[in-house]
Symmetry: C2
Subunit: 329 residues, 2 copies
């Protein structure tokens, strides 16, 4: 900065003011300084700036699995919005492991990031961050009732709409493949499933709610069991991973979709429109969800929001494709 100052014939502090938009500096000087900086290839040092001004333009993003298109889309949306605001994304994969998540939180504290977007595994993580003055936005799910900002898919409405679509086609025995119902995500989807049955005066056989683990292989086994033990005419999988398992099992049995059985999934991802028949799904606008998260943390950081917690609900949209049809018989 000294060099730039000399080159432009001003003092270092003027360089600082001229380079950043904030602070006073006459247009003439500002132009001169910018030119000088450009000429000698000066690039400001973020570390020094952050240290002095106690701010940073790095935002922490903590997700479970980048290889899952859901998280990749979420991260893509976040990054897009952050980049537009000239912020950077520090991305950490915590593999849905509490220990890794806490470790990541500590690292982000060390980096003095002003904000973190996290798909939480443990309530402790967002808590610790908040306690240390970091603005936290939870994405996709809520653990218990936290008191922080959160951006969610409208799981209940989406699942209800999807279930209703099947009920309207005459299905009365619909299996739900689901991995968890403790988080708001699974709980919401299950609630929507239930609500649709209730609204349409169809008794819900609780045995048709098939719990499995978050894993395509396990989902396949659970689907097998569901088909063996119960006469279902349709299956809804609660997310894209479980859908893989369900589809694999149906194909293996050479069941005609949708003639013999209908299949639908929550969380639309690209492969679902490539398989034949293409899957009926609920698109939760994941990229947009990511953008919302980013906009929210940025607004918090800039102090543009009132203190009370913000709950953003991103709409879920039913996409009817070929995998759902009239109930057989």
């Amino acid at each position: 900065m000294q060099d730039v100052a000399r080159e432009a014939g001003v003092s270092p502090s003027t360089v600082s003011r001229a380079l950043h938009t904030r602070g006073y500096a006459s247009p003439a000087v500002r132009a001169r300084v910018r030119a000088a900086a450009e000429r000698i290839g000066y690039v400001a040092d973020h570390n020094a700036r952050n240290l002095r001004s106690r701010t940073s333009t790095s935002i922490g993003v903590l997700i479970s699995d980048l290889r899952n298109p859901f998280y990749a889309d979420l991260a893509a949306g976040i990054e897009e919005e952050l980049r537009a605001a000239e912020y950077q994304m520090v991305l950490v994969n915590d593999n849905a492991d509490p220990a890794e998540e806490m470790q990541a939180a500590e690292t982000l504290l060390a980096m003095r990031v002003p904000g973190v977007i996290v798909t939480p595994v443990t309530a402790k993580c967002p808590q610790v961050l908040q306690d240390n003055g970091v603005h936290v936005v939870c994405a996709d799910r809520e653990l218990g009732r936290s008191n922080g900002d959160v951006v969610l898919s409208d799981n209940k409405a989406g699942a209800r709409e999807l279930t209703e679509h099947l009920l309207n086609l005459g299905h009365t025995r619909i299996g739900l493949l689901i991995d968890e119902t403790k988080w708001s995500t699974g709980a919401g989807r299950l609630a929507g499933f239930r609500a649709a049955h209730l609204d349409n005066f169809v008794d819900l056989d609780e045995d048709l709610v098939a719990y499995t683990s978050f894993d395509a292989g396990a989902a396949r086994q659970t689907t097998r069991k569901l088909l063996n033990d119960h006469e279902v005419t349709a299956i809804i999988s609660a997310n894209n991973v479980l859908a893989q398992g369900a589809l694999t099992e149906l194909k293996e049995r050479r069941l005609k979709i949708p003639r013999q059985i209908s299949l639908a999934a929550y969380d639309d991802v690209p492969w679902m429109s490539l398989v034949q028949p293409a899957l009926t799904t609920v698109d939760q606008s994941t990229v947009e969800m990511g953008r919302s998260c980013a906009r929210l943390v940025l607004a918090r950081i800039r102090g543009e929001l009132p203190p009370r917690r913000r709950i953003v609900r991103v709409p879920a949209r039913l996409i009817v494709r070929g995998s759902t049809g009239p109930a057989p018989r």
Copy 2:
């Protein structure tokens, strides 16, 4: 740090030495300091540390499109290895746009990152970074002959093996759907395609090399044209995006795969084993490629490598599935 020092009854400099492994400190003092730090919830400030020591544990990662599973896997591999080494990943999506790429490079320079992993769009970007003392690893492709480290899929060998697989099945008119041949990636795949024909004494009709743009829709149009104008019995797509377009067109025409036409793709991604028939592909071990990139930058940063450039070639593996079969007639 002052607080920790007081709490532990030592000087600030001792705290510094005790917390980081390097530097001298008696075991007793070290334990006492660590305990004190833990007790008062001290978290070191990365910005201050970076400023003073002129190092940073943030690595820049510049990719084209996080929503493409290829890049997501690459990033996942990189992050995994970085995290294990207690480094952080600053991820930037440049959308394959030269301007955004340069902007990102500048930001990373400002952050004083010691290393960057980039899937380059322009040779200028890695060049600028290197000129400023940043260790650069190019991933997936080489632009012209650069002089930096690079991690590549063994494109030629993989494409050759895939092409040979089809030739062995009796195909003599194989269409190649490809978007670019200027980068090492496309060039290598085309070279492998050619080499396989040569080795097997099959004349290659140059019209069967169908150039398209990097976009599923365009790939579909190109496939349509290829099918209309030429009698091909098999199609190879040069990457996962083009494969989507090709598959869509084949399905639209209700061509029986592989009875009427075979389809194969370079760059295996999950959906390719979900469609029916599952696609024969070349798996380029993308995650491992990411890990290699990370290991390479880290080794450079630690000064463990001799100055001459390193070229890592990640093996490509043929995976035969149902979409390829004997040539018709």
